[in-house]
């Protein structure tokens, strides 16, 4: 009689063999294999007899108390930070202000003197101009960091996690300002913000560690599109609008054509 191997018997015990019925029949007939099976089974009996200390009913709570102070170290992504309640509240506040300004400008027209309406519109635009200017300043810093990063030798991956985090934060703001620029008829600014958004999205969604080749691709794209130059031109335009609040987006259209030529 051909005996079953130890592997077959262990596999049988775990239900990991195809010929289960054959092995069962063999074990019925063969005392030697039955002894071998008993020796294997004794191991499992001994394993089951191993005690395990009970950490207590409140163990989960104790684990939480120990790890909770360390959870703040978690790295967050742009979309995680955007949907943080405090941020949503702040964003909601800004939107509410914009809507309020809009509604105040439209619905209260009969009751507000024309001069005051013009002032309110000017204030609203001025706030937007300052906010976009600051946003472009922060974006410029991110682009400059990437463009001026020292060249890497060899295949050592480049960690861009910090730049990536800031790019992620800028994406949502950028989208908001782009939509506002479009509504405002400022095509040149909307177009620049659109290009910026794509690059910021690419940076935010890249892996934390880039190969030197992938890093170079992003850098070349920034250079090829002349993004830094465009950001500076738009920023300069905003500075002029800050200094001369009467300059309207209509004028910017003509300026935009000049920018495109540049």
């Amino acid at each position: 009689m051909k005996h079953r191997t130890e592997e077959e018997l262990i596999g049988y015990r775990f239900g990991e063999v195809k010929e289960r019925m054959e092995i069962a029949a063999h074990l019925k007939e063969c005392a030697e294999c039955r002894d071998a099976m008993t020796r294997i089974e004794a191991v499992f009996v001994a394993l089951d007899a191993m005690p395990i200390p009970d950490p207590g009913e409140d163990y989960g709570e104790r684990v939480w108390q120990r790890i909770a102070p360390r959870l703040a170290e978690r790295k967050t992504r742009w979309w995680e930070t955007v949907f943080v309640p405090q941020r949503l509240v702040a964003l909601g506040g800004v939107l509410a202000l914009v809507i309020l300004a809009f509604v105040a400008g439209r619905w209260t027209k009969p009751r507000i003197p024309v001069a005051d309406q013009v002032d309110a519109a000017k204030v609203s635009e001025r706030v937007l101009v300052v906010a976009v200017g600051e946003h472009l300043g922060r974006t410029e810093m991110v682009l400059m960091e990437l463009e001026n990063a020292p060249a890497q030798k060899g295949q050592k991956p480049i960690n861009i996690s910090e730049t990536q985090r800031r790019a992620g934060e800028l994406v949502e703001e950028n989208r908001l300002y782009r939509q506002t620029a479009l509504k405002d008829g400022d095509q040149a600014m909307a177009s620049t913000l659109d290009e910026l958004e794509r690059v910021l999205l690419d940076i935010a969604n890249s892996p934390e560690e880039l190969t030197p080749a992938a890093f170079e691709t992003i850098r070349k794209r920034i250079e090829a599109q002349g993004l830094l130059f465009k950001v500076r031109v738009v920023k300069q335009g905003l500075d002029e609008r800050k200094a001369n609040p009467d300059a309207r987006p209509a004028e910017n259209k003509a300026r935009g054509t000049e920018r495109k030529k540049a």
Partner: protein, 208 residues
């Protein structure tokens, strides 16, 4: 019931991703004991097991966005814990090897049969009379398994995991994982032979 728990886990994860850090508390309190049992069997002592539990929940928190597509948080954190336990055992083995034999630093025991390397410490059957001795012997035999073998026996025997699930943790294929499980049982049987042979052991699963 299982579905209700899964839904609750999913909601807790959603809340966490929305910035509610305290939602994680529900998950930690719900799954800590299961992870602890596995960690204790892997590490062999309460101190190391607790470290594995804490580190695993921290890692799960940091990788939470990778979990979004998975259905069962308990299974996911269990796998993270098993992987971390393997790393810790390897590190511990390397540290011990360095202390015992400074000329062979950093040796990983995954591919080496530890039973062939350690001196035979098997007590005679006369000395191994009671269950306390049997436990000590089994504890030593488990400690002598490679990290992969230990993971395989803990997950397969104690936690009833399938071969595919174990293979995912060991980053191996099904056949290799099956062999790892078999090898672990064979090593334990050989290590326990002086004590178990000759004793009446309960026979199960023979369908006779």
């Amino acid at each position: 019931m299982a579905e209700e728990v899964a839904v609750s886990d999913a909601i807790a994860v959603e809340r966490m991703l929305a910035g509610d850090r305290d939602a994680y508390r529900v998950l930690v309190e719900r799954h800590s004991r299961t992870v602890y049992r596995m960690a204790y069997r892997m590490m062999g002592n309460a101190h190391d097991a607790e470290e594995v539990v804490q580190e695993s929940f921290l890692r799960a928190y940091q990788k939470l966005k990778q979990f979004a597509g998975n259905a069962n948080f308990g299974t996911w954190v269990y796998r993270i814990a098993a992987n971390y336990a393997i790393d810790r055992i390897r590190q511990r083995n390397a540290d011990e090897a360095r202390r015992e034999n400074p000329s062979r630093p950093g040796e990983d025991s995954l591919e080496v049969d530890p039973l062939s390397q350690v001196p035979d410490m098997s007590p005679s059957p006369e000395r191994l009379a009671g269950s306390a001795q049997m436990e000590d012997r089994m504890r030593a035999a488990l400690a002598e398994l490679s990290p992969a073998e230990r993971t395989a026996i803990v997950m397969r025997h104690w936690d009833g995991c399938g071969i595919e699930e174990i293979a995912a943790v060991l980053k191996s294929n099904s056949n290799a994982t099956k062999n790892t499980v078999f090898r672990a049982v064979q090593k334990l049987r050989r290590a326990m032979a002086p004590f178990l042979e000759g004793k009446e052991a309960r026979a199960m699963g023979t369908e006779v």
